[in-house]
Amino acid sequence: MNATFGILWLLSGVVANAQWVNYPTAHVPKTPSGTPNLGAPAPRKADGKPDLSGMWEAENYRQCPKDVGCADMRTSEQFQDLGWSLPGGGLPYQPWARAVRDKRKAADGADDSTTKCLPPGVPRIHTLTWPRKYLQVPGLLVILDESTTGFRQIFLDGRPLPEDPTPAWNGYSVGHWEGDTLVVQTMGLRDGLWLDRNGSPMTDAAKVTEKFHRVNFGNMQIEVTVDDPKGYTAPWTVKLNQYLMINTELLENICLDNEKDLPHLGVGK
């Protein structure tokens, strides 16, 4: 377990120097005393729909173990175990999927795709320690992901899901509004994605539904439902809280740059 956090920390390689990490974010509502009012109502676009734009982070409160020496690097419970909050022992694994999870967990995530500088995929993108920036423009929601300096597109222009797409790490995502909630459906995901650091597997049969609700200016909830009958005995739903980050900016994070970790992984259990 401890080594898990060590691995994550080594890979993050975040640039230490500050650039624009203290520059004030524009258009943040203020309290009468001038401090950011993150409890203000969620902003809206010209068409009246909620605006999800902003820089968001996961519920990164899990303390890094002391003896690994990464006290400033926290992760969420969901990063480790996406089903941690579910009653009855977590995700409803098919027997093979549970066995895979157990094996990967015992190996401390040495084969984790994010360890190898590959993308987190959907829905894992929401649970990584690195922040994400949402840009909502007409017909499209773009998520810029610091973990890979990559991006994910969610089409809001009414297009249907593709019928037989090439499997992809981010799959293919379309969204529509149900009241103030953005409902996003994703399919066409690559087989073998990891859902969490424990290695909970997801298959290419998975259909993922994400319900994005910006509760107020500073808080967003994403309700994720995964329907993957090959990997799980029933569809399941987890809730992921996201917190707005202001007066900071994404850093350029090139995972492959000066990558020196791989030879050191998998040497311990």
């Binding site: 590959l118 423009v137 992809a168």
Partner: protein, 344 residues
């Protein structure tokens, strides 16, 4: 060298949303995009640069300095470029799935522009994003050097002027291996002339590498009714171990081609997609020279009576003259596939 990059890019072949009509494009009654309609504006009245764009800069891909004169590049940079060419571009960071740096997008990769009130984000089909802040922030004073540097933009009339500084010194400006230092500053000027056409001028100013600042200009085309594909360069990467060989090996393997044979290949060839004009000429020493889009001819190395290597492009070219040698075509072999160029 282009070959190395493209090997690393492995695009998936299946079509997904590649034919879905892009919303917001003015169209004829039959649904055909009207790409000469006026450029759109944002709610704030600024030109809206949003869309998927393709820059016609392939001619600069092997030599971004082709408009410079001898002596405009400092001797150390000449030497570094020569060494990189001699090693066939082996150490080009893009071959290791690292970012292209200042020239990202300039050589033909699709780019999707997302424009908001406060920034312009550019999604590159190679998989990484770039942010240009238009919220009035200044450039950082002493930033950590970064592959993409730090970019801020402002409007001068209808032109978006983007200034970038804070590059690291590891990226190559082109596949020909031209270097730069951390002193590099790049200024881009984007002007959307109408719905489907943009003009881009890029100024490179790096006094530690070049004796003067210089600019290149490129036409940028809107690509309607398609979408970016997902590219993950380091997925299933199998190229690095195959990157062997030196230019000197290829030159050693060069064979002699009789002048009357070579003369049959001389002419201008037109490749339609991507648009390239390939000029084949004969040097005074009898060797063939190849020029792409008027950006400077390079000597070809003959590997058979009909096949030649353009080492700067990492591409082979096969000639197919007819019996008289008056008409015919060539096949330029790059990793996207074989490009057929008809003799004009």
């Amino acid at each position: 060298m282009r070959r190395l990059l493209l090997l690393a890019i492995c695009l998936p072949l299946g079509a997904q949303w590649l034919k879905y009509p892009t919303p917001g494009i003015p169209r004829s009654a039959e649904g055909k995009p009207n790409l000469t309609a006026p450029a759109p504006k944002t709610a704030e009245g600024k030109p809206d640069l949003s869309g998927i764009w393709h820059i016609d800069g392939l001619g600069y891909s092997t030599n971004i300095t082709s408009d410079l004169k001898p002596g405009d590049m400092l001797p150390w940079a000449e030497a570094v470029t020569k060494e990189r060419v001699a090693k066939l571009g082996l150490d080009n960071p893009v071959s290791r799935c690292l970012p292209p740096g200042p020239s990202i997008g300039l050589f033909g990769e699709l780019q999707k522009v997302i424009q908001t009130r406060d920034e312009v984000a550019i999604l590159n089909e190679s998989g990484i994003f770039r942010q240009v802040f238009t919220d009035g922030r200044p450039l950082p004073e002493d930033p950590s050097p970064a592959w993409q540097g730090y970019s801020v933009g402002h409007w001068e009339g209808d032109t978006l002027v983007v200034e970038t500084a804070g590059f690291n010194d590891r990226s190559w400006l082109d596949f020909g291996g031209h270097p730069h230092t951390e002193a590099l500053r790049v200024t881009e000027r984007y002007r959307r002339k109408d719905f489907g056409h943009m003009r881009l001028e890029v100024t490179f100013d790096d006094p530690k590498t070049f004796t003067r600042a210089w600019s290149i200009g490129m036409d940028v085309f809107l690509v309607p009714d398609t979408e970016l594909l997902e590219t993950v360069c380091n997925e299933n990467e199998k190229d690095a171990v195959h990157l062997v060989g030196k230019l000197s090996d290829e030159v050693k393997g060069e064979i002699a081609v009789p002048r009357e044979t070579a003369a049959k290949y001389v002419g201008t060839y037109e490749i339609k997609q991507p648009r390239m004009n390939v000029g084949i000429s004969e040097a005074s020493n009898g060797k063939l020279m190849m020029d792409v889009n008027g950006k400077g001819a390079v000597e070809l190395i003959a590997t058979s009576q009909t096949t030649f290597l353009n080492e700067a492009m990492g591409a082979h070219v096969d000639f197919f003259p007819d019996a008289q040698g008056k008409t015919g075509y060539l096949i330029l072999k790059i990793v996207e596939g074989d490009l057929r160029g008809e003799r004009k």
